[in-house]
Symmetry: D2
Subunit: 248 residues, 4 copies
């Protein structure tokens, strides 16, 4: 039984995490903390792994506290830059055996999509990304689409791929989408949609497509639970859930 504490337990993701931990085999929810609660409750409850869905202003303090006590952490809070990651690495060196996972995206499907897309990229002449979301989304393209484009762009550069063919000479402004790292990205906004993405690859005579449909926040819980289960065996700092997936 792995004893789990949740920080930011009253937030949307934190609350969902509490539900998911309670429903998962081999995990026990021993502490749910939010603003105003004392971190000491984690040690009192014997938490071995902490899940942090708090805010950029407090997450570094939370993690320092956990690392000093040998409590592993699975972190969905945003705002990590190189400096913060370096700080964490330093703290973890002083606490060997403790593991911290920083994951910008806990959706296993989104992570698989990005990994597979990067692997497939060198074998195709063309690639474009279509992301489809509900109309309340304020940014276009989505962060996942941008990240996917960057990974594909890097894979194509490494493979020394030829430029993507495109004979367009007459374009109504915007028709060919936005360009991220040389990759065309199209954002669809439609009532009734939730969060979806399609990566299309093409070469003469064939098209290869990877698609991910995320219906709700529950879809992130698979990745959170996977992180909790594996972080105890993964000392040091890990950035990105993909390192916990066995994609050999």
């Amino acid at each position: 039984m792995i004893k789990v504490g949740v920080l930011g337990a009253k937030g949307k993701m934190g609350a969902q995490t509490c539900l998911a931990v309670e429903g998962a085999d081999g995990l026990e929810l021993v502490a749910r903390l939010d603003q105003g609660d004392e971190l000491d409750e984690l040690t009192k409850a014997g938490a071995q792994v902490v899940v942090d869905f708090t805010r950029p202003e407090v997450v570094m303090g939370n993690l320092e506290w956990c690392i000093e006590r040998g409590i592993h952490a699975v972190v969905g809070t945003t705002g990590f830059d190189d400096e913060r990651l370096a700080t964490l690495r330093g703290q973890l060196e002083a606490s060997p055996g403790t593991g911290v996972l920083i994951a910008p995206n806990f959706s296993i499907g989104a992570v698989l999509m990005m990994q597979f897309a990067a692997q497939a990229a060198p074998y195709y002449e063309s690639v474009e990304i279509i992301e489809l979301h509900h109309p309340d989304k304020v940014d276009a393209p989505s962060g996942t689409a941008r990240r996917t484009a960057e990974l594909i762009g890097a894979a194509r550069r490494e493979a020394d791929s030829a430029p993507i063919p495109d004979a367009t000479t007459t374009e109504l402004e915007g028709a060919r989408g936005a360009e991220v790292d040389g990759i065309r990205v199209h954002g669809i906004r439609l009532q009734g949609l939730v969060a979806h993405q399609e990566v299309m690859f093409g070469r003469t005579g064939e098209v290869f497509t990877i698609r991910h449909d995320s219906m709700n926040r529950e879809s992130f819980m698979g990745g959170v639970i996977l992180g909790i289960r594996q972080i105890g065996d993964t000392p040091g700092l890990t950035v990105g859930l993909e390192h916990f997936l066995d994609l050999g």
Copy 2:
């Protein structure tokens, strides 16, 4: 047996039409003419219906000649404006019983897609168009996508539809596609694709999609054959293959 003559028989569409006529039940190919041939061959061969895939410079002369002789015409040649259509209407009044079909698109699937999209439009809050083509295409969006957007825009205006919801405030240029008559249109270009279009409609809790995949020029022949079979029973001028489809 309907006796059919083809004008522009050596062009890509004309040649395909000859093949299709030869393979169709109840049709007989009696004349295949191209540049330099005499129209008289049509009457000598007893052509009842002529298919014209020629050029804007010669099509009006061809049609006048046919109408005067009571030969029906199915026309895929481009370049018809209101003036040309008015001219044809005048000529057809003087030759009652003769029919001319001017069709900018002979693909039955494309015509169904446009008709159904216009019919569905009033029942949905959101709609966007994605067209996907081979990378040798020079214009974006495609003519079919523009026309579909115009038909949807008109249907929405007639139904007094509310504005399409879209909360986008941060957009990488082009991410949300081009706008045609208030409808967002996205053009994908990918090696391996031919000609495809998807119209997506959405309202709370549901998405409705119409998709058309055209693999090759053969896909236009269904509409040409349908036109040949029906034009004899449809005197006067008809613009658009949709009028020959029974979509009641």
Copy 3:
């Protein structure tokens, strides 16, 4: 303002209907009744239209009561056969001006899909249906898929369509799906899905697809609201929401 009463207001669909009526322009929810409540409350509240999501055992009594009082009814309750419909027609003759809509499916998208599929059927050689649902569904194929197949089958018979081509000689049992009225139907069951259906048509060189994705019960409310708005102007018995859609 149309005054609306809901019968079966505590059931899933009834409760959803109450929410939808409250949120709709021009409608006022004046009565919500369930088992044990008196129908008299409808007249006391001045209900002009009643929505019935009750049970086959009580719906006929409810409707008789409403028709006698000139209250229009929109009915989602199941279990109507020819005998029941004949009974209702008789009652409605005695109450001219009163309208009753019996709708087996209130999803506008599902109704559009079925109507368009029947209209497209005569123009294609091949057609198959794929329905995709969550794995808790107990029947395969879905009722909507069966109904779609029957409509397509009827349209093909009326158009005297040639048999669907299929050269399969070696089949692993079930690989080619079930057959409903001559149409192949395939049922996919997948965790993460809700309720989806795709109708694919094909002819040489082109494929035409109609797809409907229903994410939740809210997707039925568009049809219920449409029914409430139009039933007052549609005296007599109407079976099927399609008659309230303008698909001319």
Copy 4:
């Protein structure tokens, strides 16, 4: 420049291979042989790599001849069982430095689809396969769909996955498809289609889909060319194109 000879050069795949070799950078087509031609022409022409698209009855003799002379081979001919593979391994031991690739499927997209599907399988509760082909296909499901199902089945067993959820109790015969190694497989046959496959994975709140569309025989040439380029650096016997793809 790699000098390439083609065996079975008059067959469909062989002819396509000749075209592809002639169009590929760094490859030179030096011999095209078919029934009745002497294998000696390969050595006379200096062939370094041979592509074999012949028949099961002659391929073993061709390969023995090539291996003895240190000519590498890329083989698309079918009919290899364990005994034949053992024979080849024995012959290759006696000719160190020589490489033979036996590939049942040269489509890079199909190989990627199978590899990614096997990798994704352990992370999802549900999985089903839909393969879609032209109606002239005689077997259902397709060989690729069967192979994909076997790979997924094996990956699920290795990961000790729970049984796939399915509450179906009422099934019209065939509605839930065929079962291959515990995986449901559905075969669609439609005029207008070529060769397509979709693998759908699902877990609570998300669906992950991998799709491959193959439009024509050209789509296999990417894999053949890749094989020719790499076989010289891959001594011994390799079974399956996936070993030549960098999917680390």
